[in-house]
Symmetry: D2
Subunit: 298 residues, 4 copies
């Protein structure tokens, strides 16, 4: 299969590389062209515009930063939609709002084009290793065709439904569960610390008993080590994520009290000057409210 890839950022670049390694002919596009250099050295071809890439392939993936970048690369001048032929399919992997997901679905439908959503879960090292989780939604026969390409990203491909927007909501939901688990652990760590118990002990008990999922292990570890400055995702990204999740609640009339609590933590972290630190820093808000000593690394 001939595959196009738009967006070679921290996630897109290793995903594109996985496709190339699997033997697919790859045409890439990135606003900053230099990001494609090593892929070209391995056999990829650079397209002049998203439209040019789309025109030339069977599948075009997009993995861009946000709603605006996705909208621009899809329906802007020389965007994917301007080039996508009838037999090809646009697969959006970005984490975007449901409103933007609907714009993609409807905009391609108006043009008689084929579109599916394939959200991915995992951080860059997982993308590198082909260990992302893929949540795909769209027409079943289209997803069938995509299967060999999607398997380059990770062994587990979950099919969510026929409406592409469903996959976007699952992705927002899974992200919310990270923040929510952090809040839950933060309340437990703070209370036990006030009673004299080292959070590391609580962490060992959690992860040694019923709370041993990666979400507990990975984020719990960062929390008990007060490790807020490793190269992770910042508070501002968390706020965007939770905001999109809450907007989805607004669309469907679903109250989300836990999401509201998390949003308030993120806002408070920003007011405390932690906007650009890893979002696990929201734990410090729980600590402050509890009268516990604040993180000294800042």
């Amino acid at each position: 299969m001939k595959i196009g890839f738009i967006g070679l950022g921290a996630m897109g670049h290793p995903m594109a590389k996985r496709l190339l390694k699997a033997g697919h002919a790859l045409v890439v596009y990135n606003r900053t062209a230099a990001k494609a250099d090593d892929l070209v050295a391995q056999g990829a071809v650079v397209g002049a515009t998203p439209a040019a890439v789309a025109h030339d392939v069977d599948i075009v993936f997009s993995m861009l930063l946000d709603d605006a970048a996705t909208q621009d690369a899809t329906f802007g001048p020389n965007g994917i939609a301007a080039g996508l032929p009838p037999h090809a399919v646009h697969v959006c992997c970005s984490t975007i709002s449901l409103a933007q997901a609907r714009r993609l679905r409807d905009g391609h439908a108006e043009r008689g084009q084929t579109y599916v959503s394939a959200s991915v879960l995992g951080r860059p090292p997982a993308a590198e290793a082909g260990e992302l989780f893929v949540m795909a939604a769209g027409q079943a026969d289209v997803l069938d065709r995509l299967e060999p390409a999607l398997q380059c990203f990770g062994p587990k491909i979950f099919r969510v439904g026929e409406d592409p927007v469903q996959a976007n909501l699952v992705k927002l939901s899974l992200n919310f569960m990270i923040y929510s688990t952090i809040e839950q652990m933060a309340e437990v760590f703070a209370l036990n610390e006030k009673a004299g118990t080292d959070p590391h002990t609580i962490f060992e008990i959690m992860t040694g008993s019923f709370y041993n999922a990666p979400v507990h292990k990975n984020y719990g570890k960062l929390m008990v080590d007060q490790e807020y400055d490793h190269p992770g995702a910042p508070v501002t990204l968390g706020l965007k994520d939770v905001g999109m999740f809450m907007n989805a609640g607004g669309d469907y009339g679903v109250p989300l009290p836990y999401a509201s609590v998390v949003r308030d933590r993120l806002l408070s972290a920003i007011s405390a000057g932690d906007a650009e630190r890893d979002f696990v820093v929201i734990q410090e808000r729980v600590r402050q409210e509890s009268g516990l000593k604040q993180d000294s690394k800042k």
Copy 2:
């Protein structure tokens, strides 16, 4: 070692049996004496009162329903404290409030007696199989002495600290995390269902990716199957648990917004007539608020 066991309920009975099977000499006491019959058939001896049991052993475990039962069996007439000799130790395994945990600690101390807390995590089948998690707190040398007995309950014994109360708070914390994870999943299930996605699909994605701890698998399964009437723990027990956790927050000045949300769900479930159903039924409150069809099994 000669071991006493007070309280042969759903958890206490299999725990006592594990001690017996491991070859310990066992003296038991239960308000309803018949509960001891099969243990006696296997070699256990019945004590006339908690005091009589305590008088006769090296270690006396208590595993009782709540604060009141524990207080009565310990400091009431013919209670454990009335019989406990200087060389022996009282080990409380019950889930009790911090206020009661302090009464046990201080009451024994006043009498010059030795006391530790060893909270256990797990349901009756795990007790039967010797697969409970044990969280112990007290003097280190006393815990050393208890090690062989505690290992009968489960392979993992976590030491929390020197103050017995710390173990009780850890237990309340772990219970809170169950309710809290249910709320978190309930919000996600309801929102995705409103967007057209079957909660079973979300459950598979969760447990197939980063949310694969027993707490997700066990409770998530009950939730997506709307299985609210299996022989589990009722809403009223959940309310007691979360109330004790919030009271601990009150003791230490720790705000617990997630616990408050869960408490409100439990209260609402009671008002909806679900007081005696399994506490996962709080999911129905999230469903109702979201305008989703209500459980029809009631």
Copy 3:
């Protein structure tokens, strides 16, 4: 003074009429021209477009439904900005988001035009009677010039600050306080009703003691009478209002837990089929959660 007025809806029409009655020369514009008929009969002149109105006057008021209508009437083709002369001023009275408020402020500034915000508090009968509260923000000398016109709307004109956006936030804040007071009273009414006390009795005690503001009297009365279908503002408007308030919290990093609770009530009311009923109907969500009998008028 020669005054223009754009938007003759439920609020705008009586406000324009007050200006006319006070002897000001009035030029009006409304998308549905017929709404201006009675004003014309009383001496007003109809402008062909917002630009034409603005071109001809000293002050142009706009009182439109929402962000989109305001943006269109201001910066759209033949909008206010296309006609506003250097000596004149655009006064926006609409309840709009802070984002839109900034667009107005900045868009006019870029064009070297004068702009202030004058949000109004009160329902249509108060507009009719000239008893609105006016919250104005902008350059002090411009507000001085506007004073005689603003006094037609109500006797109390509060000056909030130099930045027009400040007045918009005050308006969103005061609206939030209505919803928030409803929630607070709803919790009290429901709890006391469950204890056997008629909410009407509670209402009398509240309004006869420390809780005797119009917000308690007016909304409390609707609540205890379960009067959800009078010609007031619908749940959907409440959701828009609270959403704009929460977005302001997002802009400034201010956690707003009470606003989050109210948002969830409004969403739940929509899911219960009450989207178009008066927003006091959110009380029914509190009643339902509490197991109280539901409103039968629906």
Copy 4:
């Protein structure tokens, strides 16, 4: 009428004085006897014990600090119940929990004694001036008999119902509304301050428009002046109050999300070292979360 009064604290003393001034024969009791000196100088008689007071009068009021003091003075040795004759009535004015209110009701009923609850709203200066609000609950004919005595406390006597406990819940509810209004105003003040608007301006607009109840005026003023150390009620009292209100919610299965938010503020204030300052200091928690400058008077 011959009237007894037990408890001559900050509220009880001026209330007793009002009865005396109105010409009633008064018998008083206070643990610290000296508190009665000036009343004796004005004609009151001191009883040796609560039982002795109760034995001698037609009505015995009690106005004590809390549950424990009330229980002790009523059912303890030489308590009111030990002396109360069949024709007399015990009127409890204290702010107590519903559990304690039930103990009073049921304890007196078991003894064939007459008991009503008459909670009062207002601070000491209002008690001095006879301007308290009285919420009374009990048998109607008993309340009729009490009317002349209750009118000494304030002109407005609200009858809540036949069950004395109802009056206690109304009192807890009205107290909750104070804390809740503080939270609501705190969110508004903080957000507007971050947008550049002086809270004093917001306060003027509130109290000059729809938010002009004493609760807005009195507490709002303290808030914008950051006046946290005047001789008011401390955070710890607020926590007790809100705790009793939430326990009432627990009794009746009523979720109270606003009360939970307030409880968390109070806990956080205690952790910040403000336990003994006036409870309006919870505003500082909102300010801190918002990144606003903290109160410097501490």
